[in-house]
Amino acid sequence: MSDFTEIWSYLSQGPLLWLTATLAAYALGDAAFRAAGRRPFVNPVLVAVVLLGVVLWATATPYATYFEGAQFVHFLLGPATVALALPLWDNLAHVRRAALPIAAALLAGSATAVVSALGIAWAFGIRGEVLISLAPKSATAPVALGISDAIGGSPTLTAVLVILTGITGAIVATPLLNLLGLTDWRARGFAVGVAAHGIGTARAFQVNPLAGAFAGLGMGLNAVLTAFLAPALLRLFL
């Protein structure tokens, strides 16, 4: 019979263990989210990421090895983005009627995200590559990385900033929007999709289907707008 280290070294190199671990960590995160009465600060993504981060660190597993297994989950982001067409289709009448509020909120939300992030970082003396990498952080990851690369940022750093922005948005959205007294699910969802892309959209779907549909729309539209706004607004700070 093989001893534990032998079995471990076999399993830890294959995709099965880390795929299972990803689902298990998410199941725990989701259970914690439910146990906490679906409160936004117990974000299932954040809980799963912290759990897996600790496990990888404790077992000295490189991220590349982990990703061999996790890539099957990661890959589904593409088909999931395509699938956002379904809630949009179901709410197409809502979307058509709200064209004006959508256009105004898109411009205002997107510009605020870029200018305020750059302004605050600039005020703290941050310049150069780090500042540039911050500009597209509210756009969905593949777009943000492309923009960052094109304007002289670091795509790896931008990836970190995009994910942190998404988790922040998912956590603050509900208390913030309640505080503002906003009850229109379209406004709530759309703003979260614009500011916090897919992670914000996932959060919006947890709260309300109409909010989710508008969040998906906000994410898609902001991907396009950020590609034009981020390079233009960045010039104000260089």
Binding site: P44, V45, L56, V82, P101, S116, V143, V160, A187
Partner: protein, 116 residues
């Protein structure tokens, strides 16, 4: 299930191909979403084909961000000395962007008499 998956993947594939071929500043899957929406308009029966699988995937959208999120943990060091100001910039700008976006939406909806 297979026709639904095939539809989603074909839209993504067409989106990726179009994004590359036309050098659009858009990710393939977002174009794929637009294509699928167009597909629904042309073939309304497609909606029922895609629905169960699409709802299954979207019901656990959060899960799909976990692998990328784990990648972030290893790169937190990249923030280095500018970590605190950067995190502050992220937090404040995300709060402001959500607030400004949602308030603008609600205000314009009210002016144009557009209620949900």
């Amino acid at each position: 299930m297979i026709p639904a998956l095939l539809t989603l993947l074909m839209c993504q594939l067409a989106g990726e191909a179009a994004a590359r071929a036309l050098a659009l500043p858009l990710p393939g899957p977002v174009l794929g979403m637009v294509l699928l929406l167009a597909g629904f308009a042309v073939f309304p029966r497609l909606v029922d084909v895609v629905r169960p699988v699409a709802q299954g995937i979207l019901g656990h959208l959060s899960l799909l961000f976990v692998p990328a999120g784990v990648g972030v943990v290893g790169h937190l060091g990249l923030l280095g000395q500018s970590g605190l100001p950067i995190l502050l910039a992220l937090l404040v700008s995300t709060v402001l962007a959500i607030a400004v976006g949602a308030l603008t939406f609600a205000a314009v909806a009210r002016w144009t008499g557009n209620t949900p």
